[in-house]
């Protein structure tokens, strides 16, 4: 078992792990060590990356555990004319551009995503505010979409933008994790508008604020310095760490 998993690490997911570790020092969690908080948050990132080096999955629950109450915070109905038009036609005209350091950039409709291999997972969502809730998410693994467009070797981060102006970035260690999915379904139905329709991200090993709602664009990049204030995410500019594993 030990040998098997080690071999798998060296071959199958070796590229992912390598990218994760190599990308480590470029990661926004370690590239700006100015304040004491940068150091402590960087230490948290480094230690958790070490603990998660074997890429374990988070717990998945039985459907019977799905929470009756699943709060929604921040944007719950984007005030964007194009979004509202799209919402009114059940997102039939919605497309998701995937650009940047990829071999075959493209734009994918909701139907395109649903035609791809799907993953369904019942997981615990943990919010930095303290609440947690269990939900079932169905979607296409981000790793599959990125393999579909062909990630270039120099791509190290995935920048994701939301309709409401939020944006965040993920290194390949998290972006290619099997439970990192672009979810279009929740609890057996379509993803509700208040939960980020038509498609939201699920990054299960971090706090809820990394699981962006209302996904609008995906871009593969080598560095994230040039985005926003160079801190890797919009929330990092508001004082919330780019890495939210605790």
């Amino acid at each position: 078992m030990r040998d098997l998993s080690r071999r798998r690490l060296l071959t199958g997911s070796g590229a992912v792990l390598g990218a994760g570790l190599l990308g480590g020092c470029d990661a926004p969690a370690l590239s700006h060590l100015a304040s004491p908080y940068d150091w402590s948050n960087g230490l948290t990132f480094a230690v958790q990356r070490w603990l998660l080096a074997r890429q374990p999955l988070v717990r998945e629950f039985d459907r019977s555990r799905i929470s009756a109450v699943f709060p929604t915070i921040n944007t719950t109905d984007p005030d964007d004319p194009a979004y509202k038009r799209s919402r009114d036609v059940a997102f039939a005209d919605w497309t998701l551009p995937v650009t940047g350091l990829v071999e075959r950039p493209g734009a994918f409709s909701l139907a395109d995503l649903k035609a791809m291999p799907a993953r369904t997972q019942v997981t615990l969502h943990s919010c930095e505010q303290g609440w947690s809730a269990i939900g079932e998410w169905t979607g296409v693994p981000l790793a599959h979409l990125l393999a579909h467009v062909g990630l270039k070797p120099q791509a190290r981060f995935i920048v994701i933008r939301s309709v409401d102006g939020w944006w965040d970035s993920y290194d390949l260690f998290d972006a290619l994790h099997p439970q990192t999915i672009l979810a279009y379904g929740m609890n057996g139905g379509s993803l509700p508008v208040k939960h980020g329709a038509p498609v939201r991200l699920r990054v299960e090993r971090q706090l809820g604020y990394k699981s962006l709602k209302y996904i609008a664009a995906i871009e593969a990049v080598e560095r994230v310095d040039g985005y926003g204030k160079g801190r890797g995410s919009m929330v990092a500019e508001l004082g919330f760490p780019w890495y939210a594993g605790i």
């Binding site: 402590s40 230490l43 958790q48 717990r59 709060p71 303290g130 919330f240 760490p241």
Partner: protein, 236 residues
């Protein structure tokens, strides 16, 4: 001996004990303040895995709701937590290797005698601090309290805190089993924090009972002026 004799001073606390004590005190203070800031975002406690504003709570705390304090609160909490964990780990290591734990913190055999314990309880009840030779070691009740905090409450605080981390629990899902779920861990984190604050209050009160200036100076400089032995009161 006359009353003019200067009080004897002894070297009571080693430098690493004093240093780790005050670092821990600073980190703990920062953790309490930032912990309250984080708690204000959801001053409700739950049992099990899940919990939210509209979900049934086990306990609703009489605190104002404030969603705006978690940014600095969380940053300070985890900075202070790292200091507490690294400092506490070093303290435990040195205590085990250097004999501090065995020599100074584990109760001596004579301290465990029922008669001795009964007298200590009576002395505590009368707020009568130890004198002479007894002031050169911790009393048994004090040792029990220190051991409970060092080996019990602080490790439990760290573990319940880590049970709220989606990253750490991905690596160690056993933590959820240990504490009965993420929200149970959050509730226990609060309960243990209250017990630590209670310990702090008693600890500081005891410093005043035993002589605040002398005891605080001893924890800063290491040197303690030994309170002279007084004759036993007739009723003892």
């Amino acid at each position: 001996m006359t009353e003019r004799t200067p009080r004897r001073t002894v070297f009571r606390h080693r430098a690493w004990v004093r240093l780790t004590h005050w670092l821990n005190a600073a980190a703990f203070g920062a953790l309490v303040v930032s912990g309250i800031a984080i708690l204000l975002a959801l001053p409700r406690l739950f049992w099990g895995e899940t919990g939210a504003n509209d979900a049934p709570a086990a306990l609703v705390l009489p605190l104002p709701v404030n969603l705006e304090q978690t940014g600095w609160g969380r940053n300070l909490h985890f900075l202070a937590a790292w200091i507490l964990v690294l400092n506490g780990g070093l303290y435990l290591l040195l205590s085990l290797l250097g004999g501090h734990l065995r020599r100074d913190l584990l109760p001596d055999r004579d301290q465990l005698a029922p008669g001795h314990l009964a007298r200590e309880i009576a002395d505590h009840a009368r707020l009568r601090p130890p004198k002479g030779r007894e002031a050169l070691r911790y009393n048994a009740l004090q040792k029990f309290a220190y051991l409970a905090v060092i080996l019990g409450l602080f490790p439990l605080m760290v573990l319940t805190g880590l049970t709220m981390s989606p990253g750490v629990t991905a690596a160690f899902p056993e933590l959820f089993t240990l504490f009965g779920g993420r929200q149970s861990a959050r509730t226990l984190h609060f309960v243990f924090a209250c017990l630590l604050v209670l310990f702090l209050l008693v600890h500081v009160a005891q410093v005043f009972v035993g002589g605040a200036v002398n005891l605080t100076r001893a924890m800063i400089t290491g040197r303690l002026a030994v309170p002279p032995d007084t004759p036993e009161p007739p009723d003892a």
